[in-house]
């Protein structure tokens, strides 16, 4: 069902857990399928310095969360805002069609965190 890369990110997820003193925390939840994700950001000079996540969800949700954290580290906030859920799924080498909706949380949580960060910064 899942390709090797997905299985790898599911089995050995990168950047798991809470960051201490995060600059922003993004949250998202799919009411429908019940998955939820929390994303922690450390930002410096508009650049993502560190990132971590916690996810309640299926294999696709966990792998997408992990993949996203790898994709954004070091990116500027503007660059990060452009990342879509589809980009995450693509970077994972694809997800089963029925599972695509499960990957729809990672980019959402990221964007939520960035928006909250900007609001806090008064942007």
């Amino acid at each position: 069902m899942y390709n090797e890369k997905v299985v790898d990110h599911f089995s050995n997820p990168r950047n798991v857990g809470e960051l201490e003193n995060p600059d922003a925390v993004g949250e998202t939840g799919s009411f429908k399928c019940g998955d939820t994700m929390t994303l922690y950001l450390k930002v410096q000079n508009d650049r993502i310095e560190d990132v971590s996540f916690q996810t309640f969800g299926c294999g696709a949700a966990i792998a997408s969360s992990s993949m996203l954290t790898e994709m954004v580290k070091g990116k500027t906030l503007d660059e990060a805002m452009k990342i879509t859920n589809q980009d995450v799924a693509d970077e994972l080498g694809g997800l089963p069609p029925l599972k695509l909706h499960c990957s729809n949380l990672a980019a959402d949580a990221l964007h939520d965190a960035i928006e909250k960060y900007r609001k806090k910064q008064g942007v």
């Binding site: 857990g17 916690q54 299926c58």
Partner: protein, 389 residues
Amino acid sequence: MTSRKVYMDHGATTPVREEVLEAMLPFFREHYGNPSSLHAQGRAVRKELENARDIIAGVLGAEPKEIIFTSGGTESNNIVLRGAAKKRGAPGHIITTSIEHHAVFDVCRDLEKEGHQVTYLPVDKYGKVDPQSVRKAIRPDTFIISVMAANNEIGTLQPIEEIGAIAAEHKVLFHTDAVQVVGQLPLNLSKLKADFLSLSAHKFNGPKGVGALFMRKGIRVAPIYIGGGQERKIRPGTENVPAIIGMAKALELAAAEMDEKSRSLTKLRDRLISGLLQIDEVILNGHPDERLPGNVNVSFKHIEGESVLLSLDLQGVAASSGSACSSGSLDPSHVLSAIGLDHPTAHGSIRFSLGYGNNDDDIDYVLEIIPAITDRLRRISPTYKPKAV
């Protein structure tokens, strides 16, 4: 990752036993005739087909002519419910439960669209239907009651004897979907007051694509699928002979070994349950002991079921889940909702269904690997707060 393979999804389907396959093989090769044909080739097959019917009737305490061969549990259920509705003609009232298999539940939903009214009885927290609720739900226009013998997800056994007696008392037809029970636990239709009973061979180490419908003598539904005269015109089409022979063999074996098998499965089941309940924040779904001998269903709080399934799978263990993410639908199982689980708990449910071939080593293995799996997944989860040690 591992070479160890443990199959604990017997509730979904079972391997065909070698004895069953052996019994089937001649009917692919030499005895390939059409049982409706008059020639020797056809007559020889007809004889074996009727012998299979005798065997199945014998095990169930029914008469041979009360057994209709079908393509499986789904078809048997549809024939009964749609056929009873079609026979009635005018809209009427159906009583069923909120935890039936889709092949009953969704048919009832569809019949509602055609003007029938349906009462979906609630169940208690163990998944049990109260027979008195059945009695109370009966109306003058109630024409059929359908209550499963045991639930496929949580394994809870239903009081079908009492419900059958109530139905008989009120002269309402009674159907039981016994797909999960036939071949697992004794059932005697000479005592059970059921008018219809559905079964499916692949749940008791018989082949897929074949099942049967018990339809009590003197009772008849209107056929939905029409064609040749086979199976008393209730289920026309060339008979699936090898599969029917295999079903009879599998049921015969299951009946002969039932006592021993159900005893040993119950032991394995209870070991697995108590092992799993050692883990923090795990709850058992279904009834503590009035459940199928091989059924274990637990919810791991703070974890989504599919991620447990996947982790188990990576270590060679096949199980299933009532989680939305593992079913292709978005909603968690209606059964888990009906027993009152909240969404996250329902999503964290895993079913281990034991059967032929499972042994103590399998239980040991699952109990050995599962703590690390739940641990790992909980550490990823935003809702889990580990207890201070």
